[in-house]
Amino acid sequence: EEEFKWLLQEEVHAVLKQLQDILKEASQRFALPAGGSAGAVKQQNFALSTSGTDQVKGVLTLQGDALCQADVNLKMPRNNQLLHFAFREDKQWKLQQIQDARNHVNQAIYLLMNRDVSYQFKTGSEVLKLMDAVMLQLSRARNRLTTPATLTLPEIASSGLTKMFTPALPPDILVNFYINLNKLCLTVYQLHVLQPSTTKNFKPAGGSILHNPGAMFEFGNQRYEVSHVHKVECVIPWLNDALVFFTVSLQLCQQLKDKISVFSSYWNYRPY
């Protein structure tokens, strides 16, 4: 009984403090523009490359959760023609995954901040509920980074991304950016138009993170087939840190939960 009280009053707060510190660290990685004043967020450049072939090269500039510059060089395999396109000056592309992850982390921090040292936990279930809420936010944050959205090709084609480049993207090229774990990925799809008379039976491809050559889709009354897929990626170090922080804090949460449930099993009556 005494020990449980101690756990609730001292240990829980110690863990919560620890959690808060970790998460604040994590949230700093996301370089949150403080209070909407998006001035001093530093920009980071990342060079994208594939091992072996150098068909696609690119330099991306990441500012917080937004891609503010992108330079992509694409070597066409057929005629060795070199294509170059970049973001228009006035546009930037929000990486939804980073934004969501950041928001989830901030939610988790907010939950923890509400229960600072002055707050007295009275029952174990209270802590369990708080931990569940925090863990939910954390696992969502992690999932947002680890599982990129599965998009269909028409969705990629219709997204605003295609309109952001200068010179404008040729109609037979699609691009998509996403985060996978700690990596920022760029996929470039080369398409060729399917003639309506072709004997190939048309089967539209479903949603996927990465479409394979041969995937077909219909967009704007025109049928396309993916002929080449290029994927380039680069590691973003701070994303890696963030993921590690998530994992660590999730474990902390679970440990705290376990500690509390141990007590409940010793007392046969309802402790919560």
Binding site: P33, G35, G36, S37, K94, Q96, Q99, D100, N103, H104, N106, Y110, N114, S118, Y119, Q120, F121, K122, S125, E126, K129, D132, A133, M135, L136, S139, R140, T146, L181, T247, L250, Q251, Q254, D258, S261, V262, S265, N268, R270, Y272
Partner: protein, 1071 residues
């Protein structure tokens, strides 16, 4: 989806936990709707005096409820939409508890607003949603499909809060929203209606970064049409809506967080905090203040000023008028809301819900004023209530299903059931208790004993066994034979908090083996997949609370493997039969692979690889058979487990939960036609250990069964001696006879058949109880035999069905009848139809489409029909029922007048027949109301059945009038019983003189009367059974019956000579 299932809830003493996460009051101020972390939605009655009482609880969501909102114009349709943590959305009818529509979208909403623009919009309106996604979603209020999004051109981010601004001044509806980063955005609604309908992208009209993070609420002042209130967790601010300039800021006290606010009146605000306090502020005008030192009505003086921004600016400052608080500073987070209604009889109500499940109301006066010395005044709490209060108040209703057993046993306070399982094949209910005891009883009998009145006999003779073995709470139970035959039918497994798994012999109650796991409470017991390589081995999987998984071999009585390395709770257990591997998926999405033979951890994977492993195994397993064991930790049994799912509603994590429960139980009633139209569904709730049970009656099935049993009853009695089945019955009944030798009537009941059984069911119940031990052993034998020959097993079970079904039907009828409306009806039912009086009102449930269920809570009736008459009326669902039944009666009489009611004469003839008839009516109504479309097509068929098209029409229009199905059923039942009684009365009047002459005693007039009526049943029975013996038995059964009814003179009864009966019987037998 089976719609013919009727559910009756048997609650326990402890209310299910309900941590309020969302709360709202409907527009008519009659219902409070709360959503909980457990995933249920609770409906509370709010009386005009602001008294709260719980009404219904709605099941269907599998995750924590995040927000609630109205989903239609409330005057037209009382619909409310709920959204959950995992993206489920559901539209409920809050008057009937029905689920109207549900959907699962990949969005988590935190706020929903209903928007409808009647003259420019088609359809039912929109739900404007915001949450953990960018910008605002527009969802169709009817289909719950995503219509469109309101997107933003820059700073697109999650929206924290929003409000709809109806401005008369500019004739434009707009949506004001604040994002997580504190950017305020305004979208036009009415002027962009067209572009939304044509799916053009709609961008915000204005966007301005406010200097506030963690915005909690934004509100527009409709009184001034000028001010905008923005509440963030640290402060609240007032902006000028015209140019979004900041007018004033007020910070909160340290240690508090603002959670929301609302505009009370012009220049008057109410702000509330996360810990349940609220503050009412008056915005004072500094200039007016100077002239008039203490002027409250600065709002008035304000309007004199030319309302331009410059004047407003820097002239407004807040003054605290009133505040509300909770008595003891409870540490739970609060969810609050405010309802602003000025017109009578509505109130201004501030309401809050706590994580503990408490609801509190404050009635805010129309003109809040501070105390005379200028200090703020406290507004007292008007009402406060919890679910538990209701459970305590209606004590008898909230009695657990086996509470009476425990109480009768040793006088100690009854143990709380902590886990239970129902075994349909044996009709056994196994309940594990808090104190480590396990009770094994008969399901139907227990339910009868719990629900019905005057069945002290039933209670006393209710056979049950207590298994003692656990030292602390029984956490889980498993009857493995249920699904796979390779388990011995006598095995029952129980896991306790003491980390012990015991394998019991369910028939003898002895311990077969005890596994001591030493790894914390056992949380889960699971059957192993069918196609395990060592097929005939009986293996069970066991999950403990230290996240370890143990594999127990029941036959060898050893623990094959105890996998202990898991850091996170176990979510999935899969099995690779080829490699003989155990694959354990944890909550953090890591995977552990164990080798079963050696017990070593082979691999540990996380991330993508883990996912791949889990999914690949799934595929391979599917190819083989349905061998995989997709176990979600929360849903107690897996999908293939079939019959019973005790499910726990757990916050946050995706679980199969009730969805599966319902699905499977419905499947059960669908497929297992021979066995059970009646099942008991144990339900487990998360945070506290309160368990309750739901009795499910499949009306259609019951009707079918009754019909077939009647037919077979006729048949079998005709071919009495050559029927194999009957011989079997005979032998079993002869067994009973042996035990009943000391009983006088023993000899006479030997050839008891289902039909007789029901006439003298009181007696039979006794028989059965007495015969129980024998039957049980017989049952065991039967099961032993069953392995060799299945046929034999089927037959006896078919026979038992006859009594079981009729008992079940009667139980359901008892539950449906409004007792106490008419004494005569009550008596009639009890005496002749053997429908027994209820002990207390019954909590009915409504199974609506797609596995959604609403259950009435104890105390549902108190507001509705508290003072009907002086007589104690139990179980009347609403006052409307009586009106309805009168209407029905009128319609029926008008109709039968022409036909001279040949039908009606039938009613009174046979007890069972009447029961059956009533039941078929119920089934019919059930069908009609549930499938209104089918009625028109099939109306001819129905009218044949029903005898009258007008009745049919009447009922059809009921279903249009949103009359609850339960009300309709009760009304029709009441009317039918009344009719049946009328015909009975007629017949008894004819025979009355005779009876009086014979008896010569005025006092006992009722006695012969009823006996006459009894005799009529007997007549029929005796017509069926040509042997005179049977009549004797049923006569004596009648005596028994009469003895049991309290208003009888027992002496007279016993004196009355049997000859008379015999005479009359033989008289009747002549034709």
């Amino acid at each position: 989806m089976k719609v013919s299932v009727q559910a009756v809830a048997v609650w326990g003493k402890i209310a299910p936990s309900h941590s309020v996460t969302a709360i709202m009051i409907t527009d008519d101020q009659q219902t409070i709707v709360t959503g909980s972390q457990e995933g249920q939605i609770c409906l509370w009655d709010l009386s005009s005096e602001l008294k709260i009482s719980s009404k219904e609880i709605l099941f269907g969501h599998t995750a924590s409820v995040t927000c609630l909102a109205k989903a239609r114009e409330f005057e037209k349709q009382p619909y409310v939409v709920s959204a959950t943590e995992n993206g489920e959305m559901c539209v409920w009818n809050v008057t009937s508890g029905q689920c109207i529509e549900n959907a699962k979208l990949p969005y988590r909403h935190t706020a929903i607003y209903y928007y409808h623009c009647s003259f420019r919009m088609t359809g039912e309106g929109w739900l404007l949603c915001c949450g953990e996604y960018q910008d605002v979603l527009i969802i169709d209020a009817k289909t719950l499909g995503v219509l469109h999004t309101l997107s933003s051109s820059q700073y697109s981010d999650w929206i924290n809060c929003m409000c709809i601004v109806h401005s008369v001044r500019i004739q434009e509806d707009s949506l004001v929203a604040v994002s997580v980063t504190g950017v305020l955005k305004v979208w036009d609604l009415s002027s962009s209606l067209n572009s939304i309908q044509e799916r053009q992208s709609v961008c915000e009209k204005e966007s301005k970064s406010l200097d506030c993070i963690n915005c909690q609420a934004v509100r527009f002042c409709t009184y001034t049409e000028r001010l905008l209130l923005v509440v963030s967790s640290t402060c609240w601010q007032v902006y000028d809506y015209c140019d979004f300039s900041l007018l004033c800021t007020e910070f909160c006290k340290s240690g508090q967080c603002f959670a929301g606010g609302e505009v009370l009146a012009a220049y008057r605000l109410i702000i509330w905090t996360e810990d349940g306090h609220s503050y009412i502020y008056q915005l004072l005008n500094r200039w007016a203040q100077m002239g008039n030192s203490h002027k409250k009505f600065s709002g008035l003086s304000k309007s004199i000023y030319p309302a331009d921004g410059k004047v407003l600016k820097e002239t407004v400052y807040p003054h605290l008028l009133c505040f509300t608080g909770v008595k003891e500073n409870k540490s739970f987070p609060f969810v609050m809301g405010f309802m602003n209604e000025r017109k009578e009889p509505f109130y201004k109500v501030l309401f809050s819900g706590e994580a503990s499940g408490r609801i509190t109301l404050w009635h805010v006066p129309d003109v809040p004023v501070s105390t005379f010395d200028g200090s703020p005044k406290e507004i007292p709490i008007t009402a406060t209530w919890t679910l538990q209060d209701n459970f305590d108040e209606h004590h008898s209703m909230s009695e657990g299903i086996i509470d009476h057993l425990c109480a009768s046993k040793d006088g100690i306070k009854s143990a709380v059931v902590s886990s239970s399982v129902y075994i349909p094949s044996l009709d056994k209910l196994v309940c594990g208790c808090e104190n480590g005891k396990i009770f094994v009883t008969l399901g139907l009998k227990t339910a009868r004993a719990r629900l019905l009145e005057n069945v002290s006999l039933l209670k006393d003779y209710l056979p049950y066994k207590v298994l003692n073995g656990h030292s602390s709470r029984v956490t889980c139970l498993l009857y493995p034979h249920d699904k796979s035959v390779r388990f011995d039918p006598s095995w029952l497994l129980s896991g306790g908090q003491d980390s012990v798994v015991i394998c019991w012999d369910i028939f003898t109650g002895s311990i077969i083996h005890q596994f001591d796991l030493q790894s914390g409470p056992v949380t889960e017991l699971l059957r192993f997949p069918e196609n395990y390589r060592l097929k005939d081995h009986s293996i069970v999987c066991c999950v403990c609370s230290d996240h370890s998984v143990a594999i127990l071999h029941l036959q060898k009585r050893v623990c094959l493997l105890h996998a202990r390395k898991h850091l996170f709770p176990v979510k999935k257990i899969k099995f690779d039969p080829v490699e003989n591997l155990l694959i354990v998926g944890c909550e953090d999405e890591s995977v552990y692979i164990w080798e079963i033979e050696t017990g070593t951890l082979e691999r540990h994977e996380t991330g993508e690889t883990a996912k791949v492993i889990l999914t690949s195994i799934e595929d391979s397993e599917y190819l083989v058979a349905d061998a995989l064991l997709p176990v979600s930790q929360e849903s107690k049994r897996n999908k293939n487990a079939g019959y019973k799912h005790s499910s726990s509603y757990k916050h946050g994590m995706v679980s199969y939960s009730l969805t599966h429960t319902e699905k499977s139980s419905d499947k059960l009633t669908d497929t297992s036609c021979i066995q059970q139209p009646f099942t008991i569904l144990p339900v487990k709730t998360k945070w506290n250990n309160a368990n309750f049970h739901i009795l499910l009656f499949d009306v259609e099935k019951l009707e079918e069964l009754l019909l077939s049993s009647q037919l077979s009853g006729l048949k079998s009695s005709n071919s009495f001696h050559n029927s194999d089945t009957l011989e079997r019955v005979k032998s079993t009944t002869e067994k009973r006879v042996l035990t009943l030798k000391r009983n006088k009537i023993a000899g006479s009941i030997s050839p008891v058949d289902g039909q007789v059984d029901t006439v003298c069911s009181n007696q039979v119940c006794r028989d059965k109880n007495a015969a129980r031990p024998l039957e049980e052993s017989g049952g065991m034998k039967r099961h032993k035999k069953m392995k060799s020959s299945r046929k034999i097993r089927m037959q006896p079970s078919g026979n038992i069905d006859v009594t079981v079904t009729s008992d079940t039907a009667k139980l359901l009828l008892s539950c449906l009848l409004p007792w106490g409306v008419d004494k005569e009806i009550d008596n009639l039912c009890v005496r002749h139809l053997d429908i027994l009086r209820l002990q207390c009102p019954v909590s009915f449930g409504l199974v609506s489409s797609e596995n959604h269920l609403s259950l009435m809570l104890p105390g549902w009736k108190c507001t509705d029909c508290g003072v009907l008459e002086e007589r104690a009326v139990i179980n009347l669902f609403s006052k409307r029922v009586i009106d309805l039944s009168n209407k029905y009666l009128a319609a029926a009489e008008g109709q039968t007048g022409e036909k001279d009611g040949p039908e009606n004469n039938d009613y009174g003839t046979k007890g069972l027949e009447t029961v059956f008839f009533l039941f078929s009516r119920i089934a019919l109504i059930n069908r009609i109301i549930n499938i209104p479309s089918a009625v028109t097509g099939k109306s001819r068929y129905y009218s044949m059945d029903f005898g009258s098209v007008s009745l049919l029409k009447l009922i059809c229009c009921w279903s249009d009038q949103s009359i609850k199905i339960i009300e309709a059923m009760q009304a029709v039942l009441l009317a039918e019983v009344q009719m049946a009684m009328n015909t009975l009365r007629k017949t008894t009047i004819c025979s009355d003189p005779l009876a009086i002459v014979e008896n010569g005693n005025g006092k006992l007039q009722t006695l012969p009367k009823t006996e006459e009526r009894d005799l009529q049943y007997i007549k029929n029975v005796s017509l069926l059974f040509s042997a005179l013996k049977h009549d004797k038995s049923s006569n004596s059964a009648n005596f028994q019956d009469v003895e049991d009814t309290p208003d009888r003179c027992v002496l007279e009864e016993s004196e009355s000579p049997g000859e008379r009966h015999l005479k009359t019987i033989t008289k009747y037998q002549v034709p």
